[in-house]
Symmetry: none
Subunit: 246 residues, 2 copies
DNA sequence: GAAATTAAATTGGTCAACCAATTTTCTAAA
DNA sequence: TTTAGAAAATTGGTTGACCAATTTAATTTC
């Protein structure tokens, strides 16, 4: 998908050093070698090491202090690369159910004509992707994002995006990915989306909420079906506490 | 709370340039000024600009190409992870209202005897903190977190925690902080919490949802009241789209 | 001998110069 | 006129030197 022509030098060095921190028993607060030490060791200039240190600082690995040195960071920072919880697909869906159904209900009260038009365009993109057999689900994601955007609340948008990111980082979901698209339940989900859009168009808050809930419930049921393949790894995810629709 | 000793130079420059990209009508694929141009314009060395470019590249703003120049990145990358946006207090509260009321309703169906006991203990801590005039609101936060934990869904817990973290990073909220605790609306909120707990204890899903909604609505009203002080900075936050309770 | 002061060494911060890849311009051949 | 190739200009990549803040060691003072 992405070009990924050539990894930049500082990125290579940063990954090398990050691996060192993780695998070499560094504990928070420990002193890390200085920029000069690393540069001598790797036979490169200090500027390159410095750039790598910046990356590591941003990712929450290091805490650099002028005149003192660099130290392995203590607090859990905003590091996105490594320390990523591996959420299960069912708890993710459950969270989306609770959050996105509320958002859909709210969005029905704030949505504009323009939002409706954009949502319809996204729906067309979805339909075309399915007809062409593409595995691309960006339109699907976009649909849900646009609904959140209709609330005019950036926190909600980020919250929804965060759940999608968590899903893409979920190892279990990655294993399910192929099965889901092979069996092409997406046509059913497309109908769900159309129903949600219809409720939003009529500014029917209750119906929008329920339609979103049912949509994600359908996804959940599909997942349950696909999980019943004797794979012992799925055991921990099979059960999800039942709950009535709101 | 946080130390925040001194923002690093490259970080300042990166934020400046990021703001320029966002506010100056740059579109994906557009060519961005070269490192040299920026360095001349800002009167600093190119190394500093280069470090800022690295930050922007990591955050998904830029796509730098040797010999060619830097271009505004096309795909939405992982940018939202790092640059913690400065959310307004009302959109934060609105998000909490939607999410936490749903969580409370769900938690009512999954909560255990043990959870109730722990919540009651937390409530006592809150009461004691208020009686002693402490400004510490960790018990408050803990109460909301424990309700999320009662759902047994780690995604929901993280989601709630994330909203609290966003609030603590909110500059506008920081300015409101003192006023809120000076006027001690916390006693009222303590009653709200007690009511929520009562609904959870009776496993009354609807009532728990509504009680949580009303609680956050009360916080919102307090904020509105406190904001009416002629501070022009609040203008952008004064209006929040109305919405009926679910 | 202990504490305060000063000096030296260490470390990250900043800079200007040069290197290498790419793009653009110019030139000449078809 | 078009096109292929070479030269020039542009741009990011890399380096070593120097600056400034911090830490450590040495010195002075009581």
């Amino acid at each position: 998908m992405t070009s990924d022509p050539a990894k930049r030098r500082y990125q290579e060095i940063a990954e090398l050093l990050a691996r060192r921190i993780e695998e070499e028993g560094y504990r928070p607060g420990d002193k890390f070698p200085t920029e000069r030490q690393i540069s001598v060791e790797l036979g490169i200039s200090r500027s390159l090491v410095r750039e790598a240190f910046i990356v590591l600082e941003i990712e929450g690995y290091l805490d650099v202090r002028k005149g003192s040195g660099s130290y392995v960071a203590a607090g859990e920072k905003i590091s996105l690369h490594i320390p990523k919880a591996d959420y299960g697909p069912f708890e993710l869906l459950q969270a989306r159910q609770l959050l996105e159904s509320s958002i859909a209900g709210f969005a029905a009260t704030t949505i504009t004509k323009s939002d409706i038009i954009h949502l319809r365009e996204t729906l067309d993109l979805e339909r075309r992707a399915i007809e062409n057999g593409e595995e691309d689900y960006t339109a699907d994601r976009q649909f849900h994002r646009q609904i959140a955007e209709a609330t005019q609340n950036s926190v909600l948008v980020d919250q929804v995006e965060d759940l999608w990111n968590k899903r893409e980082n979920s190892s279990m979901w990655a294993r399910l990915h192929d099965r889901i698209f092979d069996l092409s339940y997406r046509a059913k989900w497309l109908d769900d989306h159309a129903e949600i859009l219809e409720a939003l168009r009529h500014r029917n808050s209750d119906k929008a909420r329920q339609a979103m809930w049912q949509h994600l419930e359908n996804v959940r049921l599909t997942l349950l079906e696909l999980s019943d393949v004797g794979d012992p790894d799925f055991d921990g995810y099979l059960y999800t506490p039942a709950r009535a629709a709101p």
